[in-house]
Structures are given as structure tokens and as C-alpha cells.
Amino acid sequence: MEIRVLFFGVLTEVTQTMFKHYRDVNSFGDLMHRIQDDFPELVHFDYRIAVNSEIINEDPELKNMDEVAFMPPFAGG
């Protein structure tokens, strides 16, 4: 399946992009491994993950065209 990945805040300086498409994704775990391979420095940052703009607390089942967001701590206001 195809997954759209978004990066926000300071993470965009690590990834040098705000979004990246991943094709032929098998599972959430597979996606995470590929992102960690592409951006090994992400491990040094704090972030939460949202799928289709809802924060997840455990590994989700992904569907084709899902949107996965990497979000550092919020700093609005």
C-alpha cells in the first residue's frame, strides 16, 4: 500500500522535507523501519505519531493512502 508521511516542526530540519511518499508498505512496522533507515537521526528526537490526524498509542493497522504524521512536542499559543 501507499502511505503519505508528514514531518513537522524541528523534524523537518532532520528530514529536509515536510512529506514523503512510501510505496509498497507492508505494515506499520515496515514503514517505521524504512523511515528510520532514511532518517537515522530521528532517533534523537522526541515525537508522537498520528495516523489520519489521530494520535496513536499502539501500532495501528494501516490502510492504503493513510497519512502518518511525525509530531514533536506541541508549542502553540
Partner: protein, 146 residues
């Protein structure tokens, strides 16, 4: 209730005034509590903040803002309306980046609900800020201490 939460650039005096002009329409309202967040020209070492550049996960901001409003309305049944406006993009020091306006039948509810709304915005809205200094260097702000 306002549908748009995110505003491109600062929350202007014109926007604030236009919302204020609507206040008297509901005759059951006894108090309005308003919070305005303003960009501070903080000093960090030898650098001074000139502006903050906000970025947001827009779809999630809208969903979370709606959920905050629903939560406040169900917790404070005296609250009649809640407006939330938050900037995206560049806001200069001295300009307003956040407006929360809560109207209620009684003052204590207006004030308590406004405080709670601002706390929830800080906690729940996916917004990030990059401080831009006068020398044009920048730094992502981690802490949420506006």
C-alpha cells in the same frame, strides 16, 4: 461559532474588533473572557527575538479545536460560545498570535472556561513555533511557556 481556527499571519485588531462587535447579540450573556497571546521580543543570550514563525498540522488543528470546544461546552453548561483563532506563518514581536474568546451567562464560568480552553490549546493543538532572531538565525521552540 467560528469555523476557521487558523489565520494566516497575525490575529489583527480588525479581526478582534469584528468579533467583539458581535458580543451584545445574546442577551443571556453576562461575561466575556478573552485571552490574547502576543509574541514577545525575548532575549536569548545575545540574540533578540524578532518574530515567531508558526507551522501547524491544519487538518488536525481543526479537528482538535472542535473537540476542545465540545469538551468545554459539555463541562461548562453556562458557556454560550467559544472562538479560537491561531496564527500560522510569521508573526512579529508585539503582534497577536492567539485569540480565545469565551462568552457565558456568568463571569466565573467565562473566566474558568477561557483558562481551560487556553490550557487545552497549548496541550492539544498540533502547532510549532520557530523563533526568528534579529540576526535572522532561528531556533525551534520546545517549551510551551507563552
Amino acid at each position: 461559532m467560528a469555523k476557521t481556527t487558523l489565520i494566516k499571519g497575525p490575529v489583527t485588531h480588525e479581526l478582534i474588533s469584528s468579533r467583539m462587535r458581535l458580543l451584545g447579540e445574546n442577551r443571556e450573556i453576562g461575561g466575556h473572557s478573552i485571552f490574547l497571546g502576543q509574541v514577545r521580543a525575548d532575549i536569548k543570550g545575545i540574540r533578540k527575538v524578532k518574530a515567531i514563525e508558526y507551522s501547524a498540522y491544519e487538518e488536525m488543528v481543526n479537528r482538535e479545536a472542535e473537540s476542545i470546544k465540545q469538551k468545554i461546552l459539555s463541562e461548562y453548561n453556562d458557556v454560550r460560545s467559544i472562538d479560537i483563532f491561531h496564527s500560522t506563518g510569521v508573526v512579529m514581536a508585539g503582534e497577536i498570535s492567539l485569540m480565545v474568546l469565551v462568552s457565558a451567562g456568568h463571569r466565573q464560568h467565562a473566566m474558568a472556561a477561557c483558562d481551560k480552553t487556553v490550557e487545552m490549546i497549548k496541550e492539544k493543538l498540533p502547532v510549532w513555533k520557530k523563533e526568528i532572531f534579529e540576526d535572522n538565525s532561528h531556533e525551534w521552540k520546545r517549551e510551551n511557556l507563552a
